[in-house]
């Protein structure tokens, strides 16, 4: 219950946060008359701020944060490595390249940017999988290696695009996109990216106990009765759909996929039956709150990728120190 309520509370709270102050009464009235399709007696500008700017932004933040965290938790289990994050198979660099390519080709951020980012993000994971395939199996270590190779190749390609991009228009657009932001969130984004995100989330929630068994390693999981090809494939496909869709609408937001699963491991333990939903919920809350923070501390928008690392970095150090004598 807490897992469902807390993201909703965060979404609600974030409706009040920003440069334009609003009262509780006004926000509730706007939410009520918008959902009930009634005429509102609140100022039009306030309606727009709540309903068309802050609400879609908070919903998208919740979805993106949840997707990054749940995929990170699932990949950590699958790769038996607590330091893995959602970008391990190259989805972030692939999506970054796709977006940069679209910006260079069409000279600005458009819907093609999202489509390219999603397509190249999934392509990167597919390539990692192909590289990691030896004989008829995909040993975990080969997958990780494939991910490292694909990530670095796409990173190099991003640099290449930056190098050839027009330095006054395209280059800033690429750089800004890569830093991550939710500022342009609209309902159409939520609808378009929401489907793959929800499919991915649903897949990971459904298969979550199996991730426990997969984290025993390939040989043991096999002898415990797991069909490695199918189950690993399902986890990878689900996590990739969720992450690629998240990255394509928000840009590259680091740390969420690494740090949030760890906070949850400390709070609820390592059983993926609990950890996976907890990561989803906590990731959603975290990204909404960080986005709110970005709106508060500077007049102009602070890119999210910067803030998550600035908040997440020191926190992670603290966490490492704290858990050194703990269960690890």
């Amino acid at each position: 219950m807490l897992l469902i309520i807390s993201p909703l509370l965060c979404i609600f709270a974030s409706l009040f946060i920003g440069r334009y102050p609003l009262s509780i009464d006004e926000v509730i009235r706007i939410l009520w008359c918008k959902t009930a399709q009634l005429p509102c007696e609140v100022l039009d500008i306030k309606q727009t701020i709540v309903w068309d700017i802050r609400l879609p932004r908070a919903i998208l933040g919740a979805l993106v944060g949840g997707c990054l965290a749940i995929s990170g938790a699932a990949f950590q289990g699958l790769f038996r490595n607590p330091l893995v994050s959602s970008g391990i198979l190259g989805v972030s660099s692939g999506a970054g390249f796709g977006a940069a390519l679209a910006i260079v080709m069409f000279s600005s951020v458009s819907s093609a940017t999202y489509i390219f980012a999603f397509a190249f993000g999934t392509l990167a994971v597919f390539l990692s999988y192909i590289i990691g395939r030896v004989y008829d199996t995909t040993p975990t270590i080969m997958l990780v290696l494939g991910g490292v190779i694909v990530s670095s190749v796409f990173s190099a390609l991003i640099s290449l695009l930056k190098y050839v991009a027009d330095p006054y228009q395209q280059l800033p657009a690429i750089v800004f996109w890569l830093m991550g932001s939710l500022a342009t969130a609209r309902y159409s984004d939520i609808v378009a990216a929401g489907l793959p995100m929800l499919v991915g989330i649903a897949g990971l929630l459904a298969i979550r106990w199996r991730i426990n068994v997969l984290s025993m390693g390939d040989k043991e999981a096999h002898t415990l009765g797991v069909n490695l090809a199918v189950d690993k494939g399902l986890v990878i496909i689900s996590a990739t759909l969720a992450t690629a869709a998240a990255v394509s609408v928000s840009g590259i937001i680091g740390w969420v996929g690494l740090v949030i699963p760890h906070i949850c491991r400390m709070l609820v333990g390592n059983d993926n039956r609990v950890l996976i939903p907890a990561s989803l919920s906590m990731g959603a809350c975290f990204l909404i709150l960080v986005d709110d923070l970005g709106r508060i501390i500077t007049g102009s928008e602070m890119p999210l990728g910067i803030l998550t690392a600035l908040v997440g970095g020191p926190f992670f150090v603290w966490l490492l120190k704290k858990t050194k004598g703990g269960n690890w």
């Binding site: 289990g77 490595n81 040989k219 002898t223 009765g225 059983d271 039956r273």
Partner: protein, 269 residues
């Protein structure tokens, strides 16, 4: 019909033959020990029986049925596996680990049921670690962790358990604890055990406990000998197998009980 039949089995990598024309069977309630020097192919043979690797030649029959016809997940209802050394990554609780033994009976998109939990609890009681069920298994000693692996195998409710050097890395007492647990299992529940080991004395231990025990000596891609420990483990065969001079001694351990032991003397240079 034997529980497991291995017929003319052969396996090799591209340039290297591991074993050929192996024939043996394992009966219900029997301990089958695989002895042989490092790298002789014990683990590879076990992998083939577990379905992790495919034989190049011959076949393996499980309950009379060809292993290749088993769908993935079905083998896990016949054979459970206790690894040589389990790499502990995430601090799962002991109970979480043992419940994973129920994966073969649990749907892909579901979690262990109440019944599965009861079976896991029972398995933990059998190895005497029920009191540790809420502890993170990363905090257990090597011996306790190995017994958790045995409990996980027991939770699979299989007629056969394969153990790959289950006492490697264990201290004097924990080694004996694992052996004692095996004796109980075979005696009480008629489970068959296939065990790769480096210690000929393990085979003697089971024989001395009056369990039906057989030993296969793996040497030069094949079995040098196969039979009862007291027939097979001898000074001469150990010389061929390991290149070690040994003495076979026997000491009384109570009334009409006698413990055979092989004592290594020197390597042959």
């Amino acid at each position: 019909m034997s529980l497991l039949q291995v017929i003319e089995a052969g396996f090799g990598y591209e340039k290297q033959e591991i074993f050929r024309k192996l024939n043996f069977q394992v009966e219900k309630g029997e301990v089958f020990c695989l002895l042989g020097p490092n790298g002789c192919g014990k683990t590879t043979l076990l992998d083939c029986i577990l379905g992790v690797r495919q034989l190049n030649a011959g076949k393996i029959l499980l309950n009379g049925q060809d292993l290749n016809t088993f769908r993935s997940g079905q083998i896990a209802r016949y054979i459970a596996y206790v690894p040589q050394s389990h790499e502990r990554t995430f601090p799962y609780t002991v109970m979480d680990i043992v419940k994973m033994g129920r994966a073969a009976y649990t749907g892909r998109f579901s979690a262990p049921s109440k019944l599965d939990k009861a079976i896991a609890r029972e398995a933990l009681e059998m190895v005497g670690l029920f009191h540790l069920r809420h502890r993170p298994y990363t905090q257990l000693s090597g011996g306790e962790a190995q017994l958790v692996m045995v409990a996980r195998a027991l939770a699979q409710k299989t007629p056969m358990i394969i153990m790959d050097e289950p006492t490697a890395h264990l201290d004097f007492k924990h080694e004996l604890e694992v052996l004692e647990t095996i004796v109980e299992l075979v005696g009480d529940s008629q489970i068959s055990i296939i065990m790769a080991t480096h210690f000929p004395n393990h085979a003697f231990y089971f024989e001395n406990k009056k369990l039906p025990t057989r030993v296969a000596l793996m040497h030069d891609h094949n079995f040098l000998e196969l039979g009862r420990p007291s027939e097979v483990i001898a000074e001469e065969s150990m010389k061929t197998l390991y290149g070690v001079n040994t003495r076979l001694i026997s000491c009384a351990t109570g009334e009409r009980n006698e413990l055979k032991q092989l004592v290594p003397i020197s390597t042959i240079s």
